[in-house]
Amino acid sequence: MTSARQLGDILLKVEDVSLSFGGVKALEHVSFDVREREIRAIIGPNGAGKSSMLNVINGFYQPQEGTIMYRGRSHRHMRPHEAASEGIARTFQNIALFRGMSTLDNLMTGRNLKMKKNLLWQALYLGPARREEIEHREFVEHIIDFLEIQAIRKTPVGRLPYGLQKRVELGRALAAEPSLLLLDEPMAGMNTEEKEDMCRFVLDVNDEFGTTIILIEHDMGVVMDISDRVVVLDYGRKIADGMPDDVRTNSEVIEAYLGVMH
């Protein structure tokens, strides 16, 4: 359904990236590109290197080989701070929220890089810094409305049920007004209803804000439904890349998922 959409220019291009930890090769010569306003899925069996790929893109891991081209600029590797300030936001496979803080405060941390007033102003919390805080608060309230989490605004996130925590984490990423959003298994461990909600949010984010999304997901139904193009990884290598329908019928992909008869 979405495959016929017009996609923009190339936003991110991963070229020939290899990453290893000691003798373990997590990624081997992986290349793919992501176009603007695209929903790009990365799939593959457990341990295929999907999360490693996201960690390379937002600078948590530094690959030994290859380059990452983002917004036309080529990088040997990214750095987390640089990635964040260039508009790459992410969520984590195992929720990484600030558990002791309220939903609102968690979302406000997402605005961190948008705060222009320097440390001293912030520390004194006087005039301009206070006005700035109010502006950011307004923006965050929009996201709270968008994700329908008004009721848990003041609740410490550690107390929220799993599905809502995932939603708050998405909210924190959105608060940064990202141009590229990395979602690491946003629907893992959810029930059908929660999954449908999350799917709707992902599609709405893409549609309303024009955000490019890279998505890791195990639920094939979801992947085939919402993504424009799919990369398939297996044992750190790319084994397929294309439209959902092409990937589904690719024999190597079927082998990787179902195993081969010997």
């Binding site: 987390p80 964040a84 600030f98 002791g100 941390t109 961190n112 440390l119 919390y125 924190r172």
Partner: protein, 311 residues
Amino acid sequence: MQVLYAFLVGPFVQMGQAPVFFAEVVINGLLTGVMYSLVALGFVLIYKASGTFNFAQGVMVLFAALTLVGLMEHGVPVWLALILTVAVMVVLAFAIERLMLRPLINQEQIILFMATIGLTFFLEGFGELLWGSNVKRLDIGVPDRSFEVGGMLLNQFDLFAAAIGAALVAGLAVFFQKTPIGRALRAVADDHQAALSVGIPLKTIWVVVWSVAGIVAMVAGIMWGAKSGVQFSLSLIALKALPVLILGGFTSVPGAIIGGLIIGVGEKVAEVYWGPLVGGAIENWFAYVLALVFLLFRPQGLFGERIIERV
């Protein structure tokens, strides 16, 4: 029966009979309590931001006081010595971030804790190397005089120290709870990776926190040093901060303050009213017993974040 009366009723009768004296005891307890809070605060700051217990906090108190006294002995005026000491603590914070925290990023908390033990020995030795190991007198120009108000005997220096401590503590509480940096600090405390992913600069946050902890240590060092002389035992007041932390919770600034006050008042009152019954010296162990009771019944402390485990 008589024993029970002496322990459970007698002290309260005494309190009721001499309310002015009781008020004096409480106020003096509060004044001591502020000083405990001050030391505990240094621990809380670092625990919040690095998630590690800073074993070196006590030595940082000593080191700051030694630096200040050492500078003053070389004829530096008080105000300049204060500024220089603050500068030294900030430089120390930068060095700690660069040489200790950065190489150990993403390591287990216990490893960071071990590193702070190393830091303790380093600062102890380095302080002595620079300024010698003699007991030094610290005079910051506030007289240690007592005076009477409404029949209560109060100490001028204690009042001064409490005022400074209270101002510092109030400032820090607002800083943590209300400002964006405070929020960033709490974020770093909760999850390093997530903090990085939203672009919070870990290094800056660490330098800020260790600088502030250094300055808090300096203030504590001045207050305690001026009372009892600047010497090695100054680093042991950190031990008094432990029960304060257990009472208040390791992650709570208001907790450190109230914990300090409770212990200050508690041990003074216990000493004066129950001390004679057991032969005195309650002050020395009261705080630790109270901490033990808290560990049994409320391990997260009065204000600590609730420990929620999902199974």
